[in-house]
Symmetry: C2
Subunit: 285 residues, 2 copies
Amino acid sequence: MIVFLNGKLVPEPEATVPVFDRSFLYGDGVFESLRVSQGQPFRWAQHLRRLEDGAAGLHIDPPFPADELRNAVDRLVDANALPEAVLRITLSRGVGARGYSPRGATNPTVVMSLHPLPEAAGRSDLRWALATSRFRLPPDDPLSRWKTANKLLQVLARAEAEQAGADEALLLNARGELCETSSGNLFWVEGNRILTPPVQAGLLPGITRAVVLELAPAVGLLPAEESGTARRLAQSDGAFVTLSSLGVVEVGAVDGQRLRSSPHTAGLRMAYQERLAQECATGSP
Amino acid sequence: MIVFLNGKLVPEPEATVPVFDRSFLYGDGVFESLRVSQGQPFRWAQHLRRLEDGAAGLHIDPPFPADELRNAVDRLVDANALPEAVLRITLSRGVGARGYSPRGATNPTVVMSLHPLPEAAGRSDLRWALATSRFRLPPDDPLSRWKTANKLLQVLARAEAEQAGADEALLLNARGELCETSSGNLFWVEGNRILTPPVQAGLLPGITRAVVLELAPAVGLLPAEESGTARRLAQSDGAFVTLSSLGVVEVGAVDGQRLRSSPHTAGLRMAYQERLAQECATGSP
């Protein structure tokens, strides 16, 4: 695999960072994961905006202008001959002095890497079993809206769910409200409404979530942000998770309790796949 | 500087980790920072126990037995000729598959590095101005008792405090209770009592905090864990912060309001320095 590291394409064994890089020491950085299809990054502008918002929030100056990064994606896709992939972009604060103070850390690290699609990508019968995590997200977390490199709670929640035989963790916030899954956003269906928790619940507003909210009216659905509980989810007409690597994934069960299956989930899954194919064919914005 | 990396001593330019190391990607690891004096790591056993507790909590198997790590500290001190230093030990989950699931990441990364003492170390007139952070710690956080590599909140709180002209950030929890500072524990004095918030407030119980709690009776003080508010701190007879790199540091002011100065702070500072010198002279446990 060829990796983009601080402006250069390098073979994977040379893609290393100092042990004093602050993202290694403290998770002091932000990242994005996005779908590349037909060689084009899907919703590049939205992902880049979120990365830049996070960088601004962390007071990290991105060392490459947006068009240079965009250009590097093309080089990366070519070098790896991987037009269908997941792209990860990492922006770390880089090396600084020991300790939490970011003073003097003025050379950020930028990494971009391509990864094969998960095996499950494109499977229309994909259905996830969720397990409710004992880890709770803090509501109104000022850090939650950025995709930071502090993901240990998500790592442990995911591991715990897999240990319990589930596919993914369902995360509630400290108030017991539905939030998201470890790596995606949660939606549930009530009649012709599709509902998803608001950002203030403490979740990361995903780009796939935004695309689904945008596509819903075209397939006759009314989207809204509403708070919910495990009970509301259990009584819904169906539920799904949105994430950039897989798009729309139906939730089959939560904590061993089967959920209804809504035809709207399949409708949105297809609408999403079509939009992905269409935008990437013409060069996604 | 010579660094310990996965069993070898290497010069700093060679001390690198893959960009796919999970502590770089997700902060998926734990660490310790401890004082080395007269070439001996202070309270090695306690720091190692916390590191091992964290590793167990994260389901990471430390790849080196304790005695091998301890031995490596001696080699590191010799190689760097730095008998007075701060030692950092990092245990990362290492490289795995893309995504939060830790499945398949079975080769942890271990780094140990020595750092010169902060300039302020040993200054008896050191007094910190604290600024209360707008970032709040989640109370009863199951992750707070381990020193994980997810420290972005602490980084941003510290940066914000420095921006405001203060030395360090005072962190409250979401309930508005006193917790800790970005990199140390908080104590305040009331008569002959020294008080510090309980772990359940959402704080990391520091080893220096434990040493101070242990030393207090010998200097005629009664230690206790109690919840407090900003008001209680403001009305106290004095306050101080404990951290491994500097020991006991008096708090001069909070948000621009001067605090009283308690003679007990200087007493504990000296008792701590003596204990450090004494244990490291004989080989700290």
